[in-house]
């Protein structure tokens, strides 16, 4: 199998690949293209095991692609625990597989560069919510700094090759990849500062100060007047035997490989979960020439939009509702999966097992908000299953219980990219109002955006989210 996508119906990878470079993996010379991450380049060379687990030395492979799990930690140029899924590969780099916990060599000298940034608004996360917040705040004349730990700004938008739903006045009908490019370009034109490849590792003084590390050496101390946390979410895991085999990947992780780096992580895929993420991924895999053997869904009905499901069905992909994965099959990597039907009580129906031959299992079983920075800032939080887990309590204007600290997008509760963009805009506008920027005009913009958000949430698919949001808002009112 040629792992490089030479042609694709939507994206031109071949003429956009970076310079051909080489790096060393366990002493072997491996080909890569500049701009790729280490993990992506390794996968393209057929190297599926990146790490061995600490206790049982089980092989671990690529999973999330956004630096949020620990599956891809490797030793790079002598430095252990490097998140190779977000670390760009460079010519001559020395990459080693890591056994368990890494050890920092005392002799290794780390050159730290310190820098202090002052700004009106600091936004953590350059996804749909963060970029939209930055746009609104910049348009209102505020100084904006956006920090993201991924090498490319755009969050999940950069891998969404499908056209977006929502309203035309808010980018519906445009592919996610194009929306990301548009927002990043507009922000650049407005001279907003974009810091990529930098992880915000802490928020101090009640969220008044942020500390970020860029490229493992540059320490940035950020002192903003307002903070908008738009850190998105991480993919949920599912319990089944062999779920840690290389080849069991998060849906978003697979999207990154296929749609950002133009790499095929397998030939035959199984998708677990029929929400919009799973359904869209299925279609994207077919576009990349990867077979989709089936989509399994534990619920008795499809979770996502019928139109997304219909696209898969008319391409001959079965969507097995009331089915789940019983186990992954394989020794060092995924070689197959056993599926099983679920009875009316949702229990596995013995005797209904069937094996499918796949080398890729994609988990699309929901997301959990990334709320850690908000907890550290001291924001009050609550557990709401309707919003995907622990979220910071926030107002309709997305301000948390810590004045001046906002949350927007999936970090405030799992929804869609279009709602994330609206939340980002509202948070950006509210921050501007509280900084005294054209208060009356800005208030009008904010009210319009709130109306638009309500319209998006009027769909029956948002029923649960609406319940969750109502609870969060009530908790905020009680707090105030």
């Amino acid at each position: 199998m040629d792992p490089w996508l030479r042609s694709h119906p939507i994206i031109d990878f071949e003429s956009n690949r970076g310079k051909l470079i080489h790096f060393l993996y366990e002493g072997k010379r491996v080909k890569a293209y500049e701009g790729q991450t280490i993990a992506a380049a390794l996968l393209a060379s057929g190297i599926k095991t990146l790490h061995y687990s600490n206790k049982y030395q089980r092989p671990r492979g690529f999973f999330c692609a956004i630096g949020k799990c620990s599956s891809c930690l490797m030793r790079v140029d002598g430095v252990p625990n490097v998140k190779t899924c977000v670390e760009p590969v460079t010519d001559g780099m020395i990459v080693e597989c890591q056994m368990g916990k890494g050890e920092i060599s005392i002799a290794s000298e780390v050159k730290v560069q310190n820098c202090r940034i002052e700004t009106d608004v600091a936004i953590v996360g350059a996804g749909p919510a963060g970029l939209s917040a930055a746009m609104t705040a910049s348009q209102l004349g505020l100084d904006v700094v956006v920090i993201d730990e991924n090498p490319i700004a755009g969050g999940q938008l950069i891998k969404q090759t499908h056209k977006f739903f929502g309203s035309v006045k808010n980018q519906a009908g445009i592919r996610g990849t194009e929306i990301a490019k548009l927002l990043v370009r507009q922000l650049k034109d407005m001279e907003a500062e974009m810091i990529t490849g930098a992880s915000v590792i802490g928020s101090y003084e009640g969220g008044k100060t942020l500390v970020a590390v860029q490229n493992n050496y540059a320490l940035k101390e950020i002192h903003p007047k307002k903070i908008i946390v738009a850190t998105g979410s991480r993919e949920n895991f599912l319990v089944f035997p062999n779920n840690d085999l290389p080849g069991v990947c998060g849906a978003g992780g697979v999207q990154t490989l296929v749609n950002v780096y133009g790499i095929k992580p397998g030939e035959n895929a199984l998708i677990v979960g029929s929400g919009n993420v799973g359904l869209i991924l299925g279609y994207q895999l077919l576009q990349a020439g990867i077979n989709v053997k089936a989509v399994v869904e534990a619920m008795p009905r499809i979770g996502g939009y019928l139109v997304h499901a219909s696209k898969l069905r008319r391409m001959g992909v079965p969507i097995l509702t009331a089915h789940t994965i019983k186990r992954a099959i394989g020794k060092d990597c995924v070689e197959g999966a056993t599926l099983i039907a679920l009875d009316e009580e949702g229990k596995p129906a013995e005797g209904t097992e069937q094996d499918v031959e796949v080398d890729l299992i994609c988990l699309a079983v929901g997301l959990t908000p990334s709320s850690e920075l908000l907890f550290q800032a001291g924001c009050k939080w609550t557990y709401l299953p309707e919003l995907g887990g622990y979220v910071a309590i926030h107002s309709r204007d997305l301000e948390t219980t810590k004045k001046g600290v906002y949350v927007a997008g999936d970090a405030s509760g799992i929804e869609e990219a279009d709602t994330a963009m609206m939340e980002g805009k509202i948070a950006g506008a509210d921050a501007a109002i509280k900084l005294g920027v054209a208060a009356r005009k800005t208030e009008k913009i904010k009210i319009e955006d709130r109306k638009e958000l309500d319209l998006l949430r009027a769909s029956p698919f948002s029923e649960r989210v609406k319940i969750g949001k109502q609870r969060v808002w009530t908790l905020m009112e009680d707090y105030e």
Binding site: P9, F165, G316, L455
Partner: protein, 166 residues
């Protein structure tokens, strides 16, 4: 949580009732090209309505399924490539000789060529018969719009094309 209750075997496919509602009356179909919008859920979306130059597509609100005035629709296909759900098709049953034309969005490679023989697939991806590509149009946003000629008896069920026997 999907608010649609569906039979397992029909998962992801329009129900018979849905199909009855989205297909125009026979007289209209025989007059010439017309858009069929297979979008029946309440989801927030409006590019089709905005794209129609004749104002034939209306929505009560952002989330209500689109309604189309088939008498106003002239089958131009402006709505077809903008639909994020790829749920709009054109059917033309005005041709002599028992042929029907189905126009659909197509986002796979290789881009179909005029005169190419393909399999005409139904909503479940099942081949119904062979068909022939009669027209292709590449839209600016890379969705190819493909017209396939099939037996008019199956035109209402053809929703995809297959390039290989499977």
């Amino acid at each position: 949580m999907n608010p649609r209750e569906e039979k397992k075997e029909a998962a992801g496919v329009l129900t018979k009732d849905d199909i009855t509602n989205v297909i125009p009356p026979k007289e209209r179909l025989q007059k010439g090209s017309v858009a069929i919008i297979e979008c029946v859920e309440r989801i927030p979306c409006d590019p089709c309505k905005e794209a129609c130059p004749l104002g034939a597509i209306s929505k009560k609100s952002l989330i209500e399924p689109p309604r189309i005035d088939w008498n106003r629709c002239n089958g131009c296909g402006a709505c077809l490539s903008v639909c994020p759900g790829l749920a709009i098709f054109l059917i033309d049953l005005s041709l002599p000789g028992g042929k029907g034309l189905v126009t659909m969005p197509y986002e796979l490679l290789p881009v179909p060529k005029v005169e190419e023989e393909v399999y005409a697939l139904d909503r479940r991806g099942k081949p119904l018969s062979k068909g022939q590509i009669v027209k292709t149009r590449m839209s600016k946003d890379k969705t190819t719009v493909v017209t396939v000629a099939v037996d008019e008896k199956i035109a209402l069920d053809v929703r995809n094309i297959g390039r290989t026997a499977k």
